[in-house]
């Protein structure tokens, strides 16, 4: 059993240079399994079993279907099937104006709706060349970070649920996490009036201003959430079973992660020091010095550590910003009177932001009419799921559940 107790001193890993990037040598250039393997070619005498996992399975995080080819309980080929939640958002956005389209992207990444909104709204703003006022920018940043904490809470809960079952210790961690997630949802509800699907942003600014006393509530909640983080660590980091289930499981080659387009904690856990909040700042991230946690082991445990560190960092950013929200308007444009109020100039833009799952981008083509010609949403979860054929090979069914959970895919975003 692999043991990596957190009290061990971290050893600086050997690095290797690849195209100007320093990557941890131990996990770079790992042998890649063939995702297109013909099952017939794999030892024809073996007792292979095709196992259909999903689309309705307790731990596929939605409606992902994984077709696993097992030899005993070891998987030698995994084929993900997606699209069970394909709601044609891109087609719908091609028929909606800038004002109408924000609620649709809420439903893409339903665990962090605000980042989806921001990615779309920023694309329209880049096309229109509109700069939201500073108050809106700072508010957006606070909202993004609150959303990141809530999203990671949900992730940690479901991750442990996958490991410990709905009727067991996993569900305890899950319920504790939801306790804190509810606190953050309360903050967002106080601001926007909704628990999910906030529809809080619009082109040129925000829709909702801060209610009185909100800042103090945010600070109090942040204190509580930070206290409770230590509790989760006691339940996970200090738990030998948790470590033995995650350490060394699902090691992700950073080069593969990059080429596959993975992002967020999946990338940073493999030693790639990349975060758009610091590297291509948007909203008010330029005003804060965002510290990026990076791990070098590349396994599920490293991804877990990165997300926990990101939660702490998000709490710090929220604390930093919430005490100094600048005064002023929250929108750069006049409040729209009708849906065609925003006239789009012709052009093509791409805007990427750092969602809790990686780079969430919007690619927008407009030909001058009120509705865009093409909206392409670049979902980080799609790329995370596309890693499964590489990561699942050689893992047992139990491991596959953990690997899938550690990648944190949201199927609404994968399928759109």
């Amino acid at each position: 059993m692999v043991d990596a107790h957190p009290s061990h001193e971290p050893v600086a890993p050997a690095l290797v240079e690849v195209s100007g990037l320093s990557l941890p040598a131990a996990i770079t250039h790992l042998p890649r399994p063939d995702p297109y393997l013909n099952v017939e070619d794999y030892e024809p005498e073996a007792d292979a079993m095709a196992l259909n996992m999903g689309p309705q399975h307790p731990s596929t995080h939605g409606v992902l279907r994984l077709k696993l080819f097992l030899d005993g309980e070891i998987c030698f080929k995994a084929v993900p099937y997606v699209g069970y939640l394909h709601r044609g958002v891109e087609k719908l956005l091609e028929n909606r104006t800038a004002i109408q389209s924000v609620p649709y992207v809420d439903k893409n990444d339903y665990v962090s709706p605000l980042t989806g909104e921001l990615a779309l709204v920023m694309a329209y703003e880049a096309l229109l060349d509109v700069e939201p006022p500073p108050r809106a920018q700072v508010l957006r940043t606070i909202l993004m970070e609150l959303q990141r904490i809530a999203s990671h809470h949900l992730w940690l809960g479901t991750f442990c649920l996958d490991m410990g079952g709905a009727l067991g210790g996993g569900s305890s961690v899950f319920l504790y996490n939801f306790r804190e997630r509810e606190l953050i949802l309360d903050l967002l509800e106080a601001l926007t009036g909704q628990r999910m699907h906030y529809n809080a942003l619009m082109v040129g600014g925000n829709r909702h201003d801060v209610p009185p006393g909100w800042e103090e509530k945010v600070l109090a909640t942040m204190d509580r959430v930070e206290d409770r983080l230590a509790e989760y660590e006691a339940m996970t980091v200090d738990n030998h079973i948790f470590r033995s289930r995650t350490v060394g499981v699902g090691v992700l080659d950073p080069l593969l992660a990059l080429e596959a387009g993975a992002g967020g904690a999946n990338l940073r856990a493999s030693g790639v020091d990349h975060d758009l909040r610091r590297d291509a700042p948007y909203a008010a991230y330029g005003q804060v010095d965002v510290r990026i946690p990076v791990e070098t082991a590349g396994d599920c445990y490293a991804r877990f550590l990165v997300r926990i560190a990101e939660m702490r960092e998000a709490i710090r950013i929220v604390r930093l910003l919430v005490s100094g929200i600048p005064e002023g308007p929250i929108g750069a444009l006049k409040p729209p009177r009708h849906v065609n109020a925003v006239k789009l100039p012709p052009g093509e833009v791409y805007v990427g932001i750092e969602s809790p799952r990686g780079e969430l981008g919007t690619y927008l083509i407009s030909d001058g009419s009120p509705i865009p010609v093409r909206v392409k949403i670049r979902p980080p979860s799609l790329h995370a799921v596309s890693l499964l054929p590489y990561l699942c090979v050689g893992a047992t069914v139990s491991d596959i559940v953990v690997i899938l959970g550690s990648l944190d895919p949201i199927l609404g975003e994968v399928d759109r």
Binding site: H86, H274, A280, Y350, R378
Partner: protein
């Protein structure tokens, strides 16, 4: 876009001016240029977005496919390029270069109906395998019925 990318586009494509949304690249040189970009550190595959342009008086039916790559790390930058192909044309696949292009191309094949030449596993990604038509084409009605479910 950063200067080294602009320089690459200028030398490889013989362009004077590179538009900010990316130059048009001939389909046959696409893999070479993307491979060169990958050598230059653009390791993160961002997006592959195909657009259907229905026929008008001025132009025949056509597709554009836009690609985006990102150089990770501090001071991150993107490289963007586009490919224009006729209605019955096809485009070489990038799935050999970027694992992430695999699914993006399958998605574009599914929704827009562009054939990616040399793709090892070009199946529909989002819609059922027996689906007819490509929904993101402009001539596809948004409320198309599908017996017996809608």
């Amino acid at each position: 876009m950063p200067d080294d990318v602009l320089a690459l586009f200028r030398t490889r494509l013989g362009l004077e001016e590179v538009p900010p949304e990316g130059p048009f690249v001939p389909p046959e040189t696409l893999p070479d240029i993307v491979a060169a970009l990958k050598e230059m550190g653009f390791l993160l595959f961002l997006y592959c977005a195909a657009t259907h342009w229905p026929a008008t008086e001025n132009r025949p039916e056509a597709f554009t496919v836009a690609y985006g790559l990102r150089r990770p790390g501090p001071g991150s930058s993107t490289a963007r390029l586009r490919v224009r192909i006729p209605a019955d044309g096809s485009i070489p696949t990038l799935s050999g270069l970027f694992a992430g292009a695999d699914w993006q191309e399958r998605e574009q094949y599914d929704l827009v109906g562009i054939h990616f030449e040399g793709h090892p596993d070009l199946r529909r990604l989002m819609l059922p395998e027996d689906w007819e038509g490509h929904p993101l084409r402009k001539d596809y009605a948004i409320d198309t019925h599908h017996f017996p479910w809608r």
